[in-house]
Symmetry: C2
Amino acid sequence: MQLSASQRPSFRLSQDLRTGPANFLSGLRDDDSLLRQVFFSILRHHHPNLAAKVDVIYALSQAWCTSQSDNDFELMVKYVGDLKPEERILVASSFSHMLNLHNLTEEVNSSQIGRAVRLGEMDSPTRDTNHSLLKLTTVNGFTPQQVYDTLCSQTVELVLTAHPTQALRASLLKKYAIVRRELDTLHSKRMSEYEKIETLEAIRAAVQAAWRTDEIRRSKPTPQDEMRSGLSYFSTVIFDVVPVFHRRIDTALEKLGLPRLPLDRALFKFGSWMGGDRDGNPNVTAETTRDVVVLARLEAVNVYFRQVEGLMFDLSIWRCSPEMKELAERLAAAESRDAARVAEERKRRNYVDFWAPIPPTEPFRVVLAHMRDRLYNTRQVLHQCLIHSNMSVRGALEEAGAYVDIEDMARPLKLMYDSLMSTGDESVANARLLDLLRQIRTFGLCMMALDIRQESTRHTEVMDAVTTYLGLGSYASWDEPKRLAFLLGELQGKRPLMPPGMDMSPDVKEVVRTFRSLSELPGDSLGAYIISMAKTASDVLAVVLLQRETGVRPALRVVPLFETLDDLQNAPGTMTTLLGNDWYRGHINGVQECMIGYSDSGKDAGRLAAAWALYETQEKLVEVASGCGVRLVLFHGRGGTVGRGGGPTHMAIRSQPSGTINGHLRVTVQGEIIEQQFGEKEVCFRTLDLYTSAVLEAALDPPPAPAQEWRDLMSLLASESCDMYRSVVYRTPEFYDYFMQSTAASELGRLNIGSRPSSRKSGGIETLRAIPWIFAWTQQRLHLPVWLGIGEALEVAIDKGYGPVLQDMYANWPFFTSTLDLVEMVLAKADSRLSAFYERTLVDTALAPLGQRLRELLAKTQQNILIVVRKSVLLEGNTPSQMSTPNLDEKIRLRSPYVAPLNVLQALSLQGLRKFRDGGDVEYNPADPEIIDLLSRDPHKKGEGAQHPFVSAMDDCLMITIKGIAAGMQNTG
Amino acid sequence: MQLSASQRPSFRLSQDLRTGPANFLSGLRDDDSLLRQVFFSILRHHHPNLAAKVDVIYALSQAWCTSQSDNDFELMVKYVGDLKPEERILVASSFSHMLNLHNLTEEVNSSQIGRAVRLGEMDSPTRDTNHSLLKLTTVNGFTPQQVYDTLCSQTVELVLTAHPTQALRASLLKKYAIVRRELDTLHSKRMSEYEKIETLEAIRAAVQAAWRTDEIRRSKPTPQDEMRSGLSYFSTVIFDVVPVFHRRIDTALEKLGLPRLPLDRALFKFGSWMGGDRDGNPNVTAETTRDVVVLARLEAVNVYFRQVEGLMFDLSIWRCSPEMKELAERLAAAESRDAARVAEERKRRNYVDFWAPIPPTEPFRVVLAHMRDRLYNTRQVLHQCLIHSNMSVRGALEEAGAYVDIEDMARPLKLMYDSLMSTGDESVANARLLDLLRQIRTFGLCMMALDIRQESTRHTEVMDAVTTYLGLGSYASWDEPKRLAFLLGELQGKRPLMPPGMDMSPDVKEVVRTFRSLSELPGDSLGAYIISMAKTASDVLAVVLLQRETGVRPALRVVPLFETLDDLQNAPGTMTTLLGNDWYRGHINGVQECMIGYSDSGKDAGRLAAAWALYETQEKLVEVASGCGVRLVLFHGRGGTVGRGGGPTHMAIRSQPSGTINGHLRVTVQGEIIEQQFGEKEVCFRTLDLYTSAVLEAALDPPPAPAQEWRDLMSLLASESCDMYRSVVYRTPEFYDYFMQSTAASELGRLNIGSRPSSRKSGGIETLRAIPWIFAWTQQRLHLPVWLGIGEALEVAIDKGYGPVLQDMYANWPFFTSTLDLVEMVLAKADSRLSAFYERTLVDTALAPLGQRLRELLAKTQQNILIVVRKSVLLEGNTPSQMSTPNLDEKIRLRSPYVAPLNVLQALSLQGLRKFRDGGDVEYNPADPEIIDLLSRDPHKKGEGAQHPFVSAMDDCLMITIKGIAAGMQNTG
């Protein structure tokens, strides 16, 4: 053998040093192992033998993840296979918990980095507004004034939607939040020995409690449930962080010698779909919508009440401006006219303080006390509305002289602000009072605006019911031009269309009742009326007409949502018809909002074709709109994105065609993303920071438009991938069977995650909703919908010698960069060995060649992607878009030893369940009462609803693995 | 001149090094000057010229405080004298603010020390329980078990009383609390540059707002006001700190290998006089008492509601003990019987979460949800009681099935605890659930027990009205034996005494109504019935009888308060009569509580005689009680003590005669002491720590009993000082005039501080209440009531050659130590030069020799004290009792340059006011509107109530100086 001085291998120690000190330290230290130790010691304490098994499985899984060898894999499978049914549940649960604990160390770690950046201990891996401000002024050479004006004219509107895979139960979320908080304290606060002991005990208590909690949600959450947990993010986090964030912006502006943001500007607005989205879930009714509106307003009143009381303590100042004095005396005079009654009344309300009439020598308190009373009344009225569901909310509020218009609050507060500024009390003016002014601009009286979403066909049914009833024929059978003529005729006329007492089918009745209830709600609580599956201009006009007929004033802006590829491609045509109409342009006074979501289009044409169709559609829509002198607002329905955290927010925003954002971003925030982006004040602060800086830069430093040859090549890629995608999914007869056998798709229905059913009426792929379709493939680690067709498309292009062009597109076109990065990120999580295991365990051998083919397509896609992104392995030395989550491949690898056993357990559970259902009998009858308890935690399956213990064991195991894998993959459609 | 190497002067640098590093660093650093700079820059911003004047006055005052020379003093007086009336107000206000800011740097500094001690960075100057535990086990050689048993059998009961000189307005207190909090953050948290900027701006905003707030409270606070602010300490601080403190004790016990404190033990109980103390303030009526009881229960329900909801999130555990399971199923079954109504009802109550019926697979939540409903009902009922003042609280609570007995809450919680322990979930059991169990043991359903206090003569009037009405003669004219025979006769009989419809005078009526209203309040909300000015046994029996007649069940324990010296000295006789009676001993079943306060006795016999009488009385009372086989509980009414913080708590407790505390301490906490001891969580924690360790040590390591010759000498001192005190105060004819002329005593009445009038009916010293008497002398810096007579007594003793004995008593008798330390502390604050200035400005020259004499008496007292305590200057190298506030003399000296100008301003204001009242005309008519505003901030003096501008200027100035000096002296009687 020969000893040789080989070329200089990059020995890892010193290379690692290069990316900033914090990483070096924390990377090596390990919260991960602290939490794993805590968990194991709890497990050992309760189930010593099981702990040993989990240990071995983890070790075997780790060995396989590192060696990728066959026999390590088989060893692991054999070992897991030997587990008894009740052991499978607990093992699945163990890995699921370990995975969740691991995830939150990632979150703690990134908020450590956030803090380090803020304290200036390291330069920041992501963008924040402060950097953007500096970069834009120093690097791009904008004057501070230009940056200021852009900042003042931008808003980001975040629309919270409940999403079907809200995986973790609220109570588990709470416990992990405790662990996260205590862990963070361990890092950042100096503590005495006893405090440290108590912190570690608090961590142990939370982990223990989490372990003892039933992970599976046994009953379906109602929309109000979703709404409440959505609301709690506002009252506990967002409401307080928004002013802190504005204050930080002000400080940064001051450092640049710029004034504070104007008082009547808000950088953020918030919207919600929770309780307004009835697309495909029948139990969102008119009541539901009303309830959530009232609940949201109640929440707003509560937090304002708190702030006003705080201000009453702060503003005990006696000096004020003349206008302020005049107002205070007027109010004080009114009070003292019947002082006894006022004092009596305030006593009844047991205010914490200040219930004697306040003398006008404390003018601010006089005015604030008056505001407090009105807030109290507003709260009483809203309570009544909750109790008596037939009261008209708007009516009740106006009668009681409660707050309906936010300006009623803004005026006196503004008067106080000006008074303090005029008497030289700037620093008092800019304390809590300024915070409150920021809050009312951001949250108004409704906290967030509720969007209503309904499917276009439901309106067609209503119109059809009306026209047949009036004997005008059947609207449903009319062609588009006839519908348009009819609708426009009605809209430009004054005659009522809907006769009272017309009998309707329940579906039609429900739609009409919804419209009526909207007319009784305060306008500022409602956002847009979104038509899902919108195809034609008449779909829009029908809703405009229905709103007029039911007296919805002010009418909601009607937003068409183009979902399928066809609808997307005809969207420009549809909009030309719509915006070409003079009456309509007047009706919308020059602003039209469209929503584009790509979940459905992805399902029927594949991700690439969908993304490209989306991109082109946006451009065309912008053209069409500006052609008609209409400003187009694009509403982005962003899936809980592939990959971690907010990273691609920046990239996603940069990858929009330029001119589509220009200072106004409206975007959805999905289910578990809400917890990640708004779960903690620290994290929420960073989220607001990221969106602001992304939109600011998109406005001042937009990405360049793509060259023509890139577009042509992109179209080629889109059509190639689309054909390939459809030939596999829709034109391969045994594909559907393969899908239903190798995934948990059929069992997903019974997973009550989310309040809406998972498939429209039965039969083939096209009846499946986009989300379960993607979810099913994610679970079995092939992630087919994300990449299918892209490989071939790239190959066709490369064979035609477009290799270098593709590489150029990837390097310089943000849209193409982020599209491929997302795919690359998913491929890094795909695992064909595990997918093959599902096949081996669940699929008839007759279908095996199809599986074999799909995995080859995967491998080929991987190669072609690597060629284009010029890497030798996936995620190697991450690119700018993955920059935001430092060393991403590292994080994925840290997780996979936790996820692999869950996949194995899932495949085996599905196998067990299906064999049982096909009459296979398993004799599994545990006598041990503990095990019986474990198997009967589902209240709905007691008594005659009880199943065979094997079934409920496999059921639970299946549910747990589904959550665990979701937590491991942390992505959905 | 000759150069000489003189004897080695102790150069300060290295001596200073010796007392621990933290002190060295922080002593030198100066929050004081940071806050002073902030204040000055605000002052300069608003009144540049005034700021310059304040600067000069401060400089001159400092020069005088250091040089103590005449011409420096005259310079300062002249300069202050030249101020215009409106300038005096603002200058007074400036020094008052600077003084308050200075005070809070002392608080921040001591909580820095507290933290340093806890983090082990320095050894602690005060005692804390942890040290006591270690000291008792290692030094005094107690076994850990003994210490544990003692700890488990002790309780400390803290009774909060509103006190007349609650000097600062709540809103100013709040602002200073903000400054204190932000300053503390500056020290203990690492912050980025921006966070530091925002913290300093927050400090500036608070100081600015404080400066702009009118310091003078323009209207009298009602008892409910006092109650509310008392309550807010509970909900915001005490309620959360108590479990943290218990947890810390548990951790310390665990370290000694001892178990946790038993679940049903509480180391602390809380009581209150706010709204129950009707001694001398007529506007505490039956309503008031009822209101405060309801308010306190409301507060308790609110905080428990919060905890129960928190537990519902935590205890999502499905495994439990059989008993727990049985309970959960019973409740769940009851719920599901009419599930719809329950859900409906919970919706109405808009609980944050969990309003669907909870399945029994979450047993803890089922039980907790049930508790939450009952708490909600309890709250509703209490609201109703607040609104309808004629509802019987107890009745209403019982009818509605609300919580009346705390055991109804304790049982299910205990069941949960045992369940968790039995399933091996100790760490979950010992988390929030344990905290709640600690809280219900400490605060019960009433939060704190209300004491009722009434003067003995009022009951005599009632009895007199009854006996005359029944024609039995006039009770008021009977002698003691006849009263006793009558009362005991009635008490042992069954016949009702009070005929219905007997007409009464309003005073009698009010007393009877109070008793009746007590019968309708829940028993646990009431503490003791205290008879102030109690003199004879019949005073006690009269109340026992009146309670029976009005149906107060369970009867309140009747506690006599012996106030004057005579009452104190006959107290043992009185108690012998009382406890000698068999019936009575049965009635009290072997426990009798007595209260001893020394404020009044101090007024009529001087501090020393009062303290000694108190000491002896306690011993005799203990003897008498144990003679009758009765356990005596002594209730200490401790004045807001001389000197800072809790120091003497430890000393005060050690200085009680041994055997008077034995594990049970009941003590009052006065007005502004509440803010100091419970204003912050950190401070509150330390307060609980101090009391626990003091009582623990008093039990296990009591002070030795004093030798006989010490007692004889002490009696000699007491009688000598008493004669001298009385000869000056009561037998010097022109003393009263001197007092009324040289102090603000006559103007104090109009200072609406506190809800009770300051003097019983008019005429001489003996009509003055103790507090205004002491307060007046404190303001003019002679502090006469504290030291008068002590000097001569010591001199008589020293001349008889008892010098060494006195020194020995001081060194080894805690009682004598703390008595002299307190006097020394006051002497260190007395300033005869300033007192002489009051005389020069306000007193007729005819009375000057008396003043001259008083100051000589002061100087002589000072010398004799120094001889006994063996120091060359006051407060030199502080002794153990002053240990608790590190270098005290330093702190007093840091303050005096702020206080001196306030004294000068006060004397001049009094002079101005009196000259004006005696017809002297001053032509002062400011035309400047700003000044007019400044002078008309009192809403009650508008219109015809308006005074001459000079008067209201001097009035305000006087009020401000009174508060400022109080803050500077921080002591009362």
